[in-house]
């Protein structure tokens, strides 16, 4: 078998098993999804009131509605819970049998993410379409070229958040507080990635801090490409360059932490 065939077989098996687990916990997925929907819904509700009949620095109610529907979808498609899982694996000794497998745990995690995102992404898209059927303002202006770019940006953004989460989760090899670090990062990320407001509505210093970090490349940039609002739709080249740079940076960091962390690991419990 060629390498491609071997790997697609492995991934196929992982994705199927992730799917089976997901089906057992489908109520849980619905609950997480609810959480993923309320946050942007609250932000949209407040901006809707603030905008009133006019606009906020160029953002009307319509653009806010499109932007935050986009945030809901892109956040789900790029969200990675791996940091918590890894923290748990290491603390509870569940890392041990994963280390014994002839295939690195990162592949299981990637397959898990594909299965999870296919499921929640489909649900959010269906909800969006149903909403759009009765509420015309969340229908997006047709822009197929930009949507293709958005699809690529979603994959890159998901990669950034995945390796970011995986690397931070692996800090659990050294510290028992890895999940605190990821929670702190997530809280800051709400501002910096554009989940609370489009970046150009944030105070200037916050927006410039954000554009020096990876956060907006994971959410604000793909959202802007998809919805045509959010401030990044005119900076396509800069957006993709930033995405690639941060993806490579987090991938290298992940490899570095993974190599050194395993040496540190004492295999707790079992």
């Amino acid at each position: 078998m060629t390498a491609v065939a071997v790997w697609s077989k492995r991934y196929g098996a992982f994705i199927r098993s992730a799917w089976m687990v997901d089906i057992q916990y489908r109520a849980d997925i619905a609950l997480w999804l609810l959480w993923g929907i309320t946050e942007p819904a609250i932000a949209l509700g407040i901006w809707w009131t603030v905008a009133g009949g006019g606009d906020v620095d160029g953002y009307t109610r319509v653009s806010f509605a499109r932007y935050f529907f986009g945030v809901t979808l892109i956040n789900q498609l790029t969200q990675a819970w791996d940091a918590w899982y890894i923290d748990h694996w290491i603390a509870e000794g569940e890392m041990n049998h994963r280390l014994l497998r002839p295939i690195a745990p990162v592949h299981e995690a990637i397959a898990d993410n594909i299965a999870y995102k296919a499921r929640v992404g489909t649900i959010v898209i269906i909800v969006w379409l149903l909403t759009a059927a009765v509420w015309p303002i969340v229908r997006l202006p047709v822009a197929p070229e930009r949507w293709v770019l958005a699809a690529v940006a979603v994959v890159l953004g998901a990669g950034i958040r995945f390796f970011n989460g995986f690397a931070v989760g692996l800090l659990a090899f050294w510290t028992t507080r890895a999940s605190d670090i990821i929670e702190l990062q997530m809280a800051i990320g709400v501002f910096l990635s554009g989940q609370l407001a489009p970046l150009d509505l944030l105070p200037h210093w916050v927006a410039s801090v954000a554009s020096a970090l990876w956060f907006p490349y994971a959410i604000a940039f793909p959202v802007s490409l998809l919805t045509g609002t959010g401030g990044w739709e005119h900076h396509i080249v800069q957006g993709f360059v930033g995405q690639l740079a941060w993806l490579i940076a987090w991938w290298l960091l992940y490899r570095f932490i993974w190599r050194n962390g395993r040496k540190e690991y004492g295999a707790v419990g079992g």
């Binding site: 849980d28 009131t49 609370l196």
Partner: protein, 283 residues
Amino acid sequence: MWNSERGCEAPKRGTISKKGRAARLGTAFRALIALSAARELQYRANFFASFLGAAFWLLMAVFTVSIFYEHTEVVGGWSFWEAAVLLGVFNALVGVVEGVLRPGIGSLPDEIRHGSLDLLLLRPIDAQLYLTFQEVDLWRIADVITGFALSAYALHHLGRTPSVGEVALFLVTFLAAVAILYGVWLTLMSLSFWFVAVENLSTVFDAVFEAARYPASAYPSALRLVFLFVLPIVWTTTIPASALVGRLSMSVAAGCLFIAAATLIISRAVWRLALRRYTSAGG
């Protein structure tokens, strides 16, 4: 109460009067809190960490609200400092949720799954009371204190000193808000008797309670209707905060008390119904 003079002799049927029963519950309550305190005092450094953490998250929350006010003077009739009063109330309620509700009733799904609920039901004490106070994270008082401090600071900025009546109204509605949150948690967690597989029932609460960071009037009217009739917990912050900024009418306060009483009664009924059909999950 069993003391040394009476030994372990069980009280005769009918000798425990209503008053005796209440006193026994009171003793059990004090013992549970003392136990929690003893447990937490082993980790004294956590006290400072809790305050630092609480202050940090509060600053983040104020910053979040300030982003909206960069672009407007009022949201839903509330100025920035009025919204800050409300945010302080929200923070204090979060302290109650994280300190009492989550470690207490929040552990019910786990107790059911692991079968330890059976041991709890065998104790000669009301299971609901025991479950509520079996574990209290006392350091979360830091959230209550920093929250009230923020409200006081914001009131100072508004140049407003609430009258004695307003403070009393605030305290009453705040306790009513705690009662509503308690009832909602008890009901939600009782659902795990029916849906054992649902691990994250508290997520439902977390998601909806997030909306209580802002005054209810800040939302579009369609959403507000949802909040009023479907998800009343969003009002748990708006009403006590309204008392402090002096815009709470007596009729709304009375309505709040009525809802609090109704929530407590309904949740107790759901809990008893759930217990009656409980057949133990083994352990």
